[in-house]
Subunit: 201 residues, 2 copies
């Protein structure tokens, strides 16, 4: 749509790479510094030296910008939400675990996810998880499931999935690291199903 | 017992502080480099420039030396094992979670445990967890419980406890971070009891 004479971008993504990169760098910085809620598109645009409209043009909503700033190899919402859309709460945990494993068990994707995971334990990373990942990524999953008390249930789900990631993929403890996906599902789906649906204090 | 004229150590611990510190530094280095199983007391003593007998004198067994090298503010075996000794498998998970919370909910201990936890995601730390923490710390807990397949069940328990640590204490996600201990027990004990005792694939 632009009529400027900048050369066509070579990457797969639209937009001038430098501008995109500058916006993403500014977004990571502001989100980490101020948290997801307080970092505004306006302040991110200012830091990147671009017009706020350009941020929206490249990235859409603030949620989208946040997920892009995480630089995940896959958008977790595109993995998890279809798994939920397939059916109701019955068997939702099993579909979640399977969707999750389908991504993490791919060696090339896993390498990049593990790198992101390590970053989570920086002070900045913690804030991104607390104020961004949980509301932006897990929030829509809880909403799609239509569960009560999603603000408690989704962190419980996350607490088991994070521990599983840590031991199966990051620390790679046996026999967890080599367990066939069906066994992982059989072990963990009942835990998650209870967190999603059981009576809780 | 020593008749040398070095000044009496000022700390609470017996032994010349420099020697102890040198042994611990060597132990951390060898355990991280070679793993728990392959690092020998002899090689650790050699790296510290002391006699192997002195390592045994200060630290006892290799297991004890390993736990000392982790520099935890509390020895997890002294927290978890008594909780198990109180009763059989019935209610074991609840006692485990309570023992665990009694330590982590102490602000002064927590600060130091969080620091240890962050170190776990270094490559060295991962090896310590995989080859040391699980067999040395969780192994005896599984043994004391007398469960079948402890080599699978204890990592499952760890996978939930690590995720809980991460969200409740390290990232401090609400409402998990402020949940009363009784609620944490009500939520997590059934998960752990199932990992300890249920039929698993």
């Amino acid at each position: 749509m632009s009529s400027t004479r900048t050369p066509a971008p070579r990457g797969r993504r639209p937009g001038a790479p430098d501008t995109r990169a500058a916006i993403l760098a500014a977004a990571r910085h502001r989100f980490a510094e101020q948290g997801f809620a307080r970092a505004s598109i306006r302040s991110i645009a200012a830091e990147a030296g671009v017009d706020p409209a350009l941020v929206h043009h490249y990235f859409g909503t603030k949620d989208e910008l946040f997920v892009a700033a995480l630089e995940l190899p896959v958008d977790p919402r595109r993995v998890l939400l279809p798994a939920i859309a397939e059916g109701g709460l019955d068997g939702a945990a099993e579909r979640l675990v399977r969707a999750f494993l389908s991504v993490w068990d791919e060696p090339e994707i896993r390498v990049r996810l593990v790198a992101v995971f390590r970053g989570v334990l920086d002070a900045d990373g913690e804030r991104l998880v607390r104020e961004g990942f949980l509301p932006v990524v897990l929030g829509p999953v809880g909403e799609a499931l239509g569960i009560d008390r999603p603000e408690l249930r989704m962190p419980l789900v996350a607490s088991q999935m994070l521990g599983l990631i840590m031991l199966r993929y990051v620390v790679a403890v046996e026999p967890l690291a080599s367990l066939p996906p069906d066994d992982v599902v059989a072990i963990y789906a009942p835990t998650l199903q209870r967190y999603l649906t059981a009576d809780l204090p």
